[in-house]
Homo-oligomer: 199 residues x 2
Amino acid sequence: MTGPGTARPGGRTARVRDAVRRATLAELAERGYAGLTVEAVAARSGVHRTTVYRRWRNADGLVADALDLAAGEPWPVPDTGTLEGDLRVIARLVLTGYADPEQGPVARAFVLAAAQSAVAARALNAFFARRHEQSAVVVERAAVRGEVPAGTDAAEVVRLAVAPLYYRLFVTGEPVDEAAADRAAGAAAAAARAGALVT
Amino acid sequence: MTGPGTARPGGRTARVRDAVRRATLAELAERGYAGLTVEAVAARSGVHRTTVYRRWRNADGLVADALDLAAGEPWPVPDTGTLEGDLRVIARLVLTGYADPEQGPVARAFVLAAAQSAVAARALNAFFARRHEQSAVVVERAAVRGEVPAGTDAAEVVRLAVAPLYYRLFVTGEPVDEAAADRAAGAAAAAARAGALVT
């Protein structure tokens, strides 16, 4: 027996899920979280609305599934040879993501959705947990090289390298640029080297 | 001639403005930004609705004026004798503010309002600019003591000490506690001492 969630990857279920995901992202980019509806996603994806309602239920379900798929995607972990170099690449990825005319509005919509919906908030939390896990290797390699003390909290180093950018983007509304990204990465690397982020 | 904005402090204009501000904060705490209306603020404040409409125009005007008044309020700048101690107090103020059952929902409503309204975003930006300015003295004193290099960017040190908390609160939805506040403050102080935040 093959239920909706158990079809093989690349099968009909995966194609439907991907079509709905792409429509969800396009709607979020154009209309934001406040404008996201099952009806519009169904129309845009070509998937029957009763199918979308049955499997995703509502806008929050669509947001959560899009985040779930995004969390599972491959993500380019840098390996520049130094912790600061790696953190700089990660911080600049945040910068270019939010500056991107397609990705930026979607990423902002995800954060806004999480502020208003517990379902979206759980999915966004899981998404960032995955990104922190994926990034941890840059700190582990730095520990092996002796750049930072053993026991340095990898997720905390990564948080510190990106948090000042998110603070500017989502709280203070201050501009973000490459200088801000590089400064955040440099500060996180310096704090880690000084042993301030040992668990 | 005394127009509405030029009455002496403590006069009728100031009393009306304060009543409207208090009603705005109470409404934001109870109903959030999405539920804020001029009608409800007028009813709650006892100020005539035509007056509220004329002077504040709409919900965004009420949010902006509440932020403007908040920015002008005295704010307890710590002086513990070390940069790390001072930053720890500042980070813990963020923590206790958002954990407070009255202040917390209002502060969250301000951030949510800024994400959806350019007027609110400008006011929130000005509010944080003022807080960064007020906090700068802790870094300036640290430079005089020789704790951090001359030319250390004070606002950037303060951003680094609080950004990980805002990142957890508004982006990743991760828990915040005193340990997280102290770690952020310690990391910001270490980065500043290492000279990573010199302009």
